[in-house]
């Protein structure tokens, strides 16, 4: 059985074809223009960033051999042939790692507490006054945009060397980041319970406590756990500027070319980050069911 496919008359077809080709050509031209602009920007950036491919290729062997060197012990053998020698400082490192975890935990929790206190003022639907919304939002934006290590640099001068500066830097950055995320959850909350509570003559505070908080608390905890994961990574480099944790030991090892120490410390950090990722993922799925894991 054959089916006849109706074909438009030649003239009509030609006009449609021409229109199609024109549309495609226009799209291609736009893409080409975008690509040219992008490549031009890249070239300018390459000059600005002093990219020198010759040094790159001349020294690239260094990069590969660096990994060779960090996996070699002082006596010239591979690190895994003598685990005891490789992880000779495990006692000290584990202690510092514990400090790193504590820094991120305390920083995240303080940040979360401040974020909970501020986020209702930063949400469109619950802010009691426009000017307050504006001020709190700018404040959170500031806390979020300035990198935490810059805060740490300043706090090290104000509060002295040590983990306290790191905790406060992480707390401020977390306040900014969590405050924004929390306020976005609040903006998505159902406002009908709020009306219900307000109709009983409740104050603003009771409205937030009894109508909004029960809807959003699960989201808060989920975001705070995610932030804890991120902060563990951040805290691992806080020591670079003297703000406590394992970073201090790492930067000393890298700068002084204690090669096998570098690999040992890096490995402990990576394994810890893995474990924390898995642990918080498990906790999230335990608390909020499977779908909250992503």
């Amino acid at each position: 059985m054959t089916i006849a496919v109706s074909i438009l008359p030649e003239q009509q077809l030609a006009a449609l074809n021409a229109a199609y080709r024109k549309a495609v050509a226009r799209k291609r031209l736009r893409l080409l223009l975008g690509a040219v602009l992008f490549i031009a920007a890249l070239l300018v950036a390459a000059i600005g960033a002093e990219v020198n491919l010759r040094t790159f290729f001349a020294h690239f062997g260094n990069f590969v051999s660096y990994f060779d060197r960090i996996f070699t012990l002082d006596n010239g053998q591979r690190v895994w042939t003598d685990i005891g020698e490789w992880f000779w400082g495990w006692h000290k490192w584990l202690k510092l790692l514990g400090e790193t975890l504590l820094i991120s935990y305390v920083g995240t929790l303080i940040g979360a507490i401040f974020a909970v206190a501020l986020n209702f003022f930063a949400a469109e639907n619950t802010a009691p006054a426009r000017w307050l919304l504006f001020v709190v939002r700018r404040l959170l934006e500031f806390a979020r945009t300035v990198p935490s290590i810059v805060f740490a640099l300043i706090f090290v001068i104000a509060f002295g060397l040590g983990p306290m500066a790191g905790v406060l830097a992480i707390a401020i950055h977390s306040t900014g980041a969590l405050g924004k995320q929390f306020s976005e959850i609040v903006e998505n909350a159902d406002m009908r319970p709020v009306e219900g509570v307000r109709s009983t003559g409740a104050s603003w505070l009771s409205c937030m406590r009894f109508a909004v908080l029960p809807q959003v608390i699960a989201g808060y905890v989920s975001y705070a756990l995610l932030r804890f994961e991120i902060n563990v990574r951040e805290a691992s480099v806080m020591g670079f500027v003297g703000a406590g944790g394992i970073g201090m030991e790492l930067i000393v090892a890298i700068r002084k070319f204690y090669y096998s120490d570098v690999s040992a410390i890096l490995l402990t950090i990576i394994v810890t980050v893995f474990l924390i990722d898995i642990g918080t993922g498990w906790l999230r799925s335990r608390l909020f069911g499977k779908e909250a894991r992503t």
């Binding site: 920007a41 890249l42 300018v44 950036a45 390459a46 000059i47 600005g48 960033a49 002093e50 990219v51 020198n52 040094t55 790159f56 020294h59 690239f60 260094n62 990069f63 660096y66 400090e99 504590l102 820094i103 935990y105 305390v106 929790l109 303080i110 500031f142 945009t145 300035v146 990198p147 290590i149 810059v150 640099l153 300043i154 706090f155 001068i157 104000a158 509060f159 002295g160 040590g162 983990p163 306290m164 905790v167 990574r233 951040e234 691992s236 480099v237 670079f240 500027v241 406590g244 790492l250 930067i251 890298i254 700068r255 890096l266 950090i269 990576i270 980050v273 893995f274």
Partner: protein, 282 residues
Amino acid sequence: MSRHPEIDTTQLRARYPDVFSRPASARLATPAMIAAALAILVFGLVDLDFSLSRLLAGVSQLGWITMMMIPPDPGSSLPLYLKALGETLSIALLGTTLAALFALPVSLLAARNIVPSGLFRFPVRRFLDSIRGVDTLIWALVWINVVGLGPFAGVLAIAVSDFGAFGKLFSEAIETADQKEVEGIRASGGSALHEIRFGLMPQVLPVIAGQVLYYIESNTRSATIIGIVGAGGIGLQLAEQIRVLEWQKVSFLILMILIAVAAIDFISGKLRFAIIGRRAVA
């Protein structure tokens, strides 16, 4: 007027015991968790040498510093700072682009619908994970050993650490792509490469473009800090001015960073809107 029937609570209690008295374990779970969280917090505060006197002294010190920061003033080094800012933006742009270029082929290997065999996919994923587990600053330190101090080390550091992030994000984007289009290509006799080029890429590229733009934005922030370890950009100036306590210059530099980040935010928001439409901007 009709009256509600009298509610017999004792009967209700007997019928729905779970509603009226939750088991002790369920009632105690939340307070116990909060108590545990607070206990760790207190332990942490003690272990990390927090004390009220230090906190107060630090805050008053911080107040002084803030006073000294006003008004922001670059002194005579404005051209130097502008050049450093340009360097930072260059580092972010180049690093992100390099990372995206290298991550795209690798992300195909990590996607379930391209490489069904878990045996092969698993090592690729773990490899990407371990790259992501190492902070950008650490990569910067490693690259400084290789190509020397300067912004080029920063470009490579951002490229490597984003390579890990992009590999994961891209492979997730590929996994969520619609398989019907791929099947269509296969049905019309296309090879595996055709399937990827004409079935997957048109779906995935806009998503990827959005992610890359977002990362350029967030890398502007990362690029400001890798200067602290000597990998070029405005962070180098910032760290130096903080160390010599030139607070007016510090506040000027922070202001410059804030403005630059806001500008990049704005531009990339517009571009993302142009590429993928309203939905993905939020």
